[in-house]
């Protein structure tokens, strides 16, 4: 391999980033910070896909295209989630998940 770094280093880095995101998802109480933790998780999965593509199957393009699609889905998800968060803020004047506990109005 021309980069001189084993594949496992990339995978371990992505794993640590993923579980830091999981920790944030479990402990945070603000909707926007939860969204940021989800972005961390999606990003770590992208690193995994690209490292697999480059190290194990350099003659294919699946990892590249699927991380491209993951980035697109993350962008769509962030746009819709932020629209919902702003709507929730208008109605409840807070975006703390523990205070937003009723679906009807």
């Amino acid at each position: 391999m021309n980069t001189g770094i084993p594949l496992q280093y990339f995978l371990i880095l992505a794993t640590m980033m993923f579980f830091v995101g999981v920790y944030g998802f479990l402990t945070r109480r603000n909707l926007i910070t939860i969204l940021m933790s989800v972005e961390l998780i999606l990003n770590s999965v992208n690193i995994n896909l690209l490292a697999f593509n480059r190290y194990l199957y350099p003659n294919k393009l699946e990892g590249l295209f699927f991380s491209l699609f993951v980035i697109t889905v993350a962008a769509a998800e962030a746009a819709v989630a932020i629209a919902i968060i702003i709507n929730i803020y208008r109605r409840f004047m807070t975006i703390n998940v523990e205070d937003v506990n009723e679906m009807k109005y």
């Binding site: 880095l13 830091v20 479990l26 940021m36 480059r54 190290y55 803020y89």
Partner: protein, 179 residues
């Protein structure tokens, strides 16, 4: 150590440290800026893997688009100087326990597994190849997910506009109920 390994070490330290700061910082705007650092170093990793196009997409879409969107929504929904209450020790302990045990299991599995690379020649990934693959129906063609993702983006855009619109669509029944 070669320069590649030094760059990888720098990127991974930045990614780990700033992702931990992203999920633990008590000021929300700072946490968004730390997220920006994480995303930019991830783009650096993509450059190291020789995927220049994806690194550019990461910089423009993630670091340029999503972070700006998040910062705008932070400015719309919270005071800048507001600090979060610290997380309770019980919740923080159990979440850290879950995360660390999960990471431990995954890392053990990764170190245990024997990865075997293909022996075929590597493909040169340039813009021409990416554009042709995205719009071809042949062997290396991705036109179906491309079209599906474009419909998804349109639907997400319409949904975001409809949800965030001031007032929103009011039904006749709910109006009379309010009066």
């Amino acid at each position: 150590m070669t320069s590649n390994q030094i760059m990888f070490a720098i990127f991974s330290v930045v990614i780990i440290v700033f992702s931990i700061l992203t999920v633990t910082s008590r000021k929300i705007l700072r946490s968004a800026v730390y997220l920006l650092f994480v995303l930019v170093s991830t783009a650096g990793l993509y450059f190291m893997l020789n995927y220049q196009f994806l690194a550019a997409v990461q910089l423009t879409l993630y670091a340029g688009g999503i972070v700006v969107l998040i910062i705008f929504s932070i400015l719309l929904t919270s005071h800048i100087n507001q600090k979060f209450e610290p997380v309770g020790w019980k919740k923080s302990l159990f979440s850290a326990l879950a995360a660390i045990s999960g990471a431990f299991l995954s890392i053990i599995t990764i170190l245990d597994y024997k990865f075997s690379a293909t022996t075929e020649a590597a493909k040169e990934v340039d813009m021409r190849l990416i554009g042709k693959s995205l719009l071809s129906v042949g062997n290396d063609g991705y036109v179906l997910p491309f079209e599906v993702i474009s419909v998804l983006l349109l639907a997400a855009m319409v949904a975001a506009v409809v949800i965030a619109k001031k007032g929103g669509p009011k039904k006749a029944g709910s109006q009379t109920l309010n009066q």
